[in-house]
Assembly symmetry: C2
Homo-oligomer: 214 residues x 2
Amino acid sequence: MGYNLKEIPFFSKMSEENIKRLSSISFFKKYHADELLFYEGDEPKYLYILLDGVLRLYKTSPKGQEIYIHQFVPTSMIGELANFENIKFPASAKFITSGTILKIEYKKLEEDFFKNPEICMQIIRSLTTKVKILSNVIHQEMILTSEAKVAQFINEHSELFENIRNNQIAAILNVSPETLSRTLGKLKKDGIISIDKKHAVTIHDTEALKILYS
Amino acid sequence: MGYNLKEIPFFSKMSEENIKRLSSISFFKKYHADELLFYEGDEPKYLYILLDGVLRLYKTSPKGQEIYIHQFVPTSMIGELANFENIKFPASAKFITSGTILKIEYKKLEEDFFKNPEICMQIIRSLTTKVKILSNVIHQEMILTSEAKVAQFINEHSELFENIRNNQIAAILNVSPETLSRTLGKLKKDGIISIDKKHAVTIHDTEALKILYS
DNA sequence: CGATACATTGAACAAATTCAAAGCTGGTGG
DNA sequence: CCACCAGCTTTGAATTTGTTCAATGTATCG
């Protein structure tokens, strides 16, 4: 498969013996773009380590629209909460690109490894990251207006405009393409940004953008 | 003060020696109702253990309104994220009732106790709880409509109506009192619930309520 | 009992989505 | 190479969901 447990940052400090045990309760699996890793409401069975690819976490509204939560990049631990608490997954996850996952049988991991302080620290780190992610989602969705979200996104990820369409940016920001279009229009009209033929953004007034979201 | 570190569930299994060390880097403090424990944007210094009272976590919108996140009851660990990541508090916390907090100097805790598996497990448990809380907040605020929020609240906390005013329930649900009033009115009209003189709710049709939020 | 806070109701307002139509664009096959 | 067309983007209008405002009615607690 080309992957080795020793090379995974989470387990790099692990003893040979533990690596062997870990390899006996886990396996690698490849996924292609658009493939689902798990669906909101699924029962958890594996702890996932994302080794390659981009994985999008999202919820589905009653009307069927995807609500973007986060995109994970390697190396990330995924699914601790649902496994830990033995609750159904509160969100869905699908691959945006092709990718690779290490699937670890959670029950056995729990039996064998939870006394291992190194593993505990990794789990703490991963949980901390999640709390931060969710805390940010709450801030963005409950505190910021659409304009504020767009302004923040431009300041923090302006380079992405060259690579992805407004379409996808709107999905990431959880606003409609129309709202994004109108907001970008307004920012251009106000001389705060401009967008060239290649869809690259130039920021003329970083401070003005910052004011919009702080 | 009437409090003893040994009696705090988080530390009940700790050795005498560690308890002594812990007591040297921590102290108890009483708070009265409405007092702030920390404010959004504050730099963290202490890890907090809520021993008594009800503590409300909330964010403040640009327009100055409080957005309810959660209410903690004893015994809860509070502030791990901000301390761990050394970031400013992403929300504010104030006491709803009077209460007591154990304040632990975080830096020293980190030095001394992070190798202690028992402490690690407590931190993991606390972080897991937080992820669940935030995950629920996201579900409630981004997925559910006002009606759905009210329906869920009634099914899960109908007993609270006898004790607190619609006013406060609206604040907990992050809806305006007017919206709550109108929604309750609708549910009464539809014969799903009724509310008596004592402000106690009777549910006539649990299933109808459930459908509204699932 | 009376003042003050809380609840209810209707109307106006706000923010963003949805719908619809028209204008662009950029990747593909000829 | 370029013409085409499906999929974006843009724009305006209508709609939706809930808040805010205002007025009136009703509890509640010294």
